[in-house]
């Protein structure tokens, strides 16, 4: 009796701990369908807008586009607004609360496929589903995407134990993420061979178990699935007064050197390593570095005054006056270019466009969205036939 009591207590504690470790979503759908301004769309072009909207109370410098997803081979389609354009990830992810159409879930050996997707600020959890995706005026057929739903099955401990749950629209400040970085698949070769990859799970039974996912099952940068103009993109945004702006519109041009509107001419090419990185040299130090529309500032290491207090801008720089700084972007092959940038105090969300927003990162130099203002930046995807890809060019 006593033994049972002991074991019972221990097991109860154990189960409690497992539950406590299991995370779990509190997903109050907070998505509000606003009518986004009409944004230009061409055959291989998609509109980009930076603006304030109700689903994004917190983050300046978030570039949005619209995506239209359809049940494959049907005309049953739905357009999702305010999807974050992210060159730091691969594949489309949409909150289940922002979508009403049901899409069939991809199966691995007859088992429904789910995914834990890593971001530097947290993870998204949900099912992997197949959609036809309209981009510009082309359709990417049968594209695996993630439908983010933290109430799906039970989030595996390997997922909840990786960080914070990005389980609501307001936590992302967007209805979804369109990952269009320099690789195609979100996981790559590891997931094709090993079920212990921390990305993919099958959830026929509870708990979900680690699963392989072939290249055709992995969530993929959907540009790579287009019939043409599928080897990369250009992000082209206008320049902004250093004081900031209430909104801005630009475009994403699909393809690199495939049409008159996406030719590389005088731009310098910076080849990327297997981490999609290059170097930046700042104040004499050479640091690993990347370019990311999904980061909302320029993040680097300096002794500039840091923001304090309840502003919430912990981790950002708060100089008294605007500072003008210089850094040099350098590829592994030695191509280099000097970049001028500025740092100013963060402003309220009355200014969703903040070209001088910058913060602290001591281990890498991150060129977030402010870098893209006033530039035309090419990203050539690996494995899609562009010589020397993956690379960025500007």
């Amino acid at each position: 009796m006593k033994r049972n009591h002991w074991l019972f207590n221990l097991l109860t504690a154990f189960i409690f701990l497992l539950n406590a470790c299991g995370g779990g979503g509190s997903s109050e759908p907070s998505a509000q369908r606003l009518s986004m301004k009409d944004i230009a769309v061409g055959f291989n072009e998609m509109g980009v807008i930076v603006e304030k909207w109700d689903g994004n109370p917190s983050y300046p410098n978030q570039p949005f586009t619209n995506v239209t997803v359809c049940i494959p081979n049907t005309s049953i389609c739905e357009t999702i607004e305010h999807v974050l354009i992210d060159t730091g990830s691969y594949g489309l992810r949409i909150f289940s609360s922002a979508i009403s159409t049901s899409f069939s879930q991809i199966q691995v050996s007859g088992q429904p496929l789910a995914e834990c997707s890593p971001f530097v600020s947290g993870y998204t959890w949900g099912t992997v589903n197949s959609v036809d995706l309209l981009m510009g005026q082309q359709i990417a057929p049968s594209v695996p995407i993630q439908i983010i739903d933290h109430n799906y099955a039970t989030i595996p401990p390997g997922c909840s134990g990786s960080g914070s749950a990005i389980d609501e629209v307001s936590k992302l400040g967007a209805n979804g993420i369109l990952g269009v970085g320099a690789f195609a698949h979100d996981c790559g070769s590891l997931c094709t061979t090993s079920p212990n990859n921390s990305y993919y799970y099958t959830c026929a039974d509870n708990p979900c178990v680690g699963s392989t996912a072939s290249y055709s099952q992995q969530v993929i940068n959907p540009i790579a699935k287009l019939p043409s103009h599928n080897n990369g993109l250009i992000v082209q945004l206008p320049s902004v007064n250093s004081l900031g702006a209430a909104n801005l519109s630009g475009k994403m041009i699909l393809g690199v050197n495939t049409a008159n509107n996406n030719q590389i001419s005088t731009e310098s090419i910076f080849e990327l390593n297997s981490f999609a990185e290059f170097f930046t040299v700042y104040k004499g130090a050479r640091i690993r570095s990347y370019m990311d529309t999904g980061s909302n500032g320029i993040f680097f290491n300096d002794a500039i005054t840091r923001c304090t207090g309840p502003s919430g801008f912990t981790g950002f720089y708060c100089p008294n006056t605007t500072m003008n700084l210089t850094a040099t972007i350098r590829s592994y092959l030695g191509v280099s270019k000097t970049i001028d940038f500025s740092v100013a105090q963060p402003q309220s969300m009355s200014y969703p466009v903040q070209p001088s927003l910058a913060g602290i990162s001591s281990s890498s130099f991150i060129w977030g969205l402010p870098f893209f203002y006033g530039r035309k930046v090419f990203i050539a995807t690996e494995g899609m036939g562009v010589p020397n890809a993956p690379f960025i060019a500007f």
Binding site: P118, S160, G161, S164, S198, F313, I360, S364, I366
Partner: protein, 151 residues
């Protein structure tokens, strides 16, 4: 089952529980965790003469973990590289909740985390397929140990 066996079983459960909830930053080494493959270990002397040990491990998911152990056998710093979701609950141990709280704060950047408290520093970074980070306990690091040693 005798009392001795009972005690042993209970002790085993307690240890199991402890190892799942209390690791590793600020606590004992990950050594002995059977999910981890040990890569190597290295004894280092900091630039003012205090020594510390670095152990490195790989998880089955290919995350590389380095732990830095001071002369009191406590992990005072950790660093990691991962292609996917990293086992930060394991790596950060009791500090994981503070990591989650810091990355959950509204109005922080859509950006890597830089947490700089008197007793805890965390820096993360990376893009999908390649994440990295480090964390250390400023009050427990050996004199002369600098952040550069973590990068």
């Amino acid at each position: 089952m005798g009392n001795k066996q009972k005690t042993l079983i209970c002790f085993f459960f307690l240890v199991l529980q402890t190892s799942l909830t209390y690791a590793q930053l600020g606590g004992a080494s990950l050594l002995g965790n059977d999910r981890l493959t040990r890569l190597n270990n290295q004894s280092i002397t900091s630039n003012n003469g205090q020594s510390y040990l670095i152990n490195s491990y790989q998880t089955p998911e290919k995350t590389i973990i380095r732990e830095y152990i001071n002369t009191s056998n406590r992990v005072f710093a950790v660093a990691w590289n991962s292609s996917g979701p990293a086992p930060l609950q394991l790596i950060l141990g009791n500090y994981f909740d503070r990591y989650v709280a810091a990355t959950s704060m509204p109005l922080t950047g859509r950006a890597p985390l830089r947490l700089q408290d008197a007793d805890l520093v965390i820096q993360t970074g990376g893009q999908m397929r390649s994440y990295f980070g480090y964390a250390y306990l400023p009050l427990q690091r050996p004199a002369g140990f600098t952040v550069e040693a973590l990068q």
